[in-house]
């Protein structure tokens, strides 16, 4: 707890927004498929502290994304409980926003209208129009407010998706490989931006990624999952201050450790 409190202090918390604490208790999940039951999560226990950045690493298709859907409240867990600040998660809520691998912008809406989605859905748009502009400026796309999604590059579209999430002032940002489809340069730039957004806004973040370096660059704690059905195999605490440096020898060492947990001892 002391270590976390210290890390919280590193976060320059401009915002009123304090991140949520998420408790995942004994969660198992089974999919009903035509071929029978498919267990995807096996007795997962995980706590995300308020304002903490946690990354989930694991083999493809191991069930990490499913865990995110459960935390988002998009699906109920087969077994176990999920809590947000000691309250049961039973349905989606704007305090927990998901950013998907695809930007999933609505192609019929302009960038501005896409970002306004959450406020409009909750009937707050009339009062809070300036928040849309703020969110767009925060991701540096103020000039593109009136563009349509098909006019944007992949990186810009994903930035709009971040703005669309941030406009809701989420206390938990759920990131399902949000940078997975970007080219490597854009990806590095966006990682830095993501850290900035998190440090400035103070939300908790739960990130699924396949990129070990990305996890170590962004997160305070990296949780390694096993093959499906996923259970937690290891936890790596990334005790490095922000802003981090990619060439930090400590990151290289942690990377070796993480890869070993993923069964890639020799190939790093």
């Amino acid at each position: 707890m002391v270590a976390i409190a210290e890390q919280r202090e590193q976060v320059e918390n401009h915002q009123q927004n304090i991140g949520s604490q998420i408790d995942i208790c004994q969660v198992s999940h089974v999919f009903d498929t035509p071929k029978g039951k498919l267990p995807v999560l096996n007795q997962v226990n995980l706590t995300v502290q308020a304002g903490e950045f946690v990354a989930l690493l694991g083999p493809s298709g191991c069930g990490k994304s499913t865990l995110l859907r459960l935390v988002a409240g998009l699906e109920p867990a087969t077994q176990g409980t999920l809590l947000q600040d000691d309250e049961l998660i039973v349905r989606p809520d704007p305090s927990r926003i998901v950013v998907f691998q695809d930007p999933t912008l609505f192609p019929w809406r302009t960038v501005w209208d896409n970002v306004a989605l959450g406020l409009q859905a909750r009937g707050l748009l009339r009062r809070d129009r300036h928040r849309v502009d703020d969110a767009l400026n925060r991701v540096g796309l103020g000039e593109f407010a009136q563009s349509y999604p098909h006019q944007l590059s992949g990186g810009m579209a994903q930035r709009v998706a971040f703005a669309r999430a941030l406009v809701n002032d989420p206390s938990l940002l759920i990131l399902d490989e949000p940078l997975g489809k970007l080219d490597s340069l854009t990806r590095l730039a966006m990682q830095t931006e993501l850290v900035d957004l998190w440090r400035k806004n103070g939300f908790s973040a739960l990130l699924v990624t396949h990129d070990v370096e990305e996890a170590l660059f962004l997160a305070q704690r990296v949780v390694v999952f096993s093959e499906r059905p996923a259970r937690i195999k290891a936890e790596i605490r990334v005790d490095l201050p922000y802003p981090r440096h990619r060439g930090d020898p400590r990151i290289a060492a942690l990377r070796r450790e993480a890869l070993a947990h993923l069964g890639l001892d020799d190939s790093w």
Partner: protein, 355 residues
């Protein structure tokens, strides 16, 4: 002639690029002084129109029955005038002075040649030689006669057709859209409506014609019902499939941001399905034309369909041709209008098909 017509522009381009010109130096020198803007296919079109005019005006009509064709001279003069105008427009001077507006005509060059050629053949085989027999065939100038002589009846028919079509299509589109949305959205509505749609949908609306004329208080209301039915079916099916194929991710995004069911239907499902809805409207509108004309021919005592049967009753095939041309322009115009609306509503799409 036809070869020239299609090759004209390409040849110009090749020549302009100096590919086909042996003395390319000369050509380049020429271009340096004053780039020629002469419109070659325009010149050709002008000559073709003048030829058509002279054929019509100069060659005497082959008189079969009692009277000569009216408006022969006028048509000939018009042809010559159009041709002269095109010749004038095609000159370097006019092309430069007319600016972009005149140059917008350029892509239509081949068509401007083809039309007088076709008109000339038509004129030749009907009025000039009588190889195509009266009364089944009529020369171009006889259509002018009909439009001038019978415009009131024809105009009235257009108005009645449009009125019937507007009412029927409006009902059909609205009901079809609502049915499509509810079948696509609600499983329990889908359970009941889907089989009905599947079995009754492919039934041609015209097949119900005798039945509806019996059941409905007037043949007019029966026709409205049939037009609505013909429009409604494709609109319903395509709206439904559009709603059903909306990506689940859109709903997930909206749901995590606190969207209500209402929001998911009206702000996510329907806008996402709109491209499909417009395909349905296009198909529905096309289907409605056929039903409409049939209904007007069978029972309704007005409209273009009625005009056709009326003209047939008098063996007045000229009137029929005139009405068919009006009908073609009217229906094509309506489809164009629909596409215009679609392009406006779906302007967020890239690369929409142009009509």
């Amino acid at each position: 002639m036809s070869m020239l017509m299609f090759w004209g522009d390409d040849m110009n381009e090749l020549i302009a690029n100096g590919v086909l010109v042996q003395e390319s130096d000369v050509a380049q020198a020429d271009r340096a002084v004053a780039p020629s803007m002469l419109w070659h296919s325009g010149l050709l079109a002008g000559l073709a129109w003048i030829a058509f005019g002279i054929l019509t005006w100069g060659v005497p009509n082959h008189v079969v029955g009692f009277t000569d064709w009216l408006y022969t001279k006028e048509l000939g003069v018009a042809g010559v005038l159009v041709g002269a105008g095109l010749l004038l427009f095609s000159t370097s001077w006019a092309q430069r002075a007319g600016g972009t507006r005149l140059q917008e005509l350029r892509p239509y060059g081949a068509w401007l040649v083809a039309v007088p050629v076709i008109l000339g053949l038509w004129e030749y085989f009907t009025a000039k030689t009588g190889l195509l027999p009266v009364p089944f065939f009529a020369p171009p100038q006889s259509l002018i006669d009909v439009y001038i002589d019978d415009w009131q009846r024809l105009g009235g028919s257009v108005v009645n057709t449009l009125k019937l079509l507007a009412i029927g299509v409006a009902y059909g589109a609205v009901v079809g859209f609502l049915v499509g949305v509810s079948v696509g959205w609600s499983k329990s509505i889908g359970y009941w409506v889907h089989p009905v749609l599947r079995v009754l949908g492919p039934l041609p609306a015209t097949a119900l014609l005798p039945l509806t004329f019996y059941f409905f208080p007037s043949s007019y209301s029966a026709a409205i019902f049939l037009v609505a039915l013909a429009t409604g079916f494709p609109v319903a099916v395509l709206t439904w499939s559009g709603i059903a194929s909306v990506s689940k991710n859109y709903y997930d995004v909206a749901r995590t941001m606190g969207a209500s069911e209402w929001f998911l239907i009206f702000r996510v499902a329907i806008p996402a399905a709109l491209p499909q809805v417009f395909v349905g409207l296009f198909m529905g509108l096309s289907a409605s034309f056929s039903v409409l004309v049939t209904a007007e021919m069978m029972g309704v005592k007005s409209g273009l369909g009625w005009y056709l049967t009326w003209a047939q009753g008098w063996a007045s095939y000229t009137n029929m041709y005139a009405a068919l041309i009006v009908m073609a322009l009217l229906f094509s115009g309506l489809i164009s209008l629909l596409f215009l609306v679609r392009d406006y509503v779906l302007s967020w799409q890239k690369g929409t098909v142009k009509w």
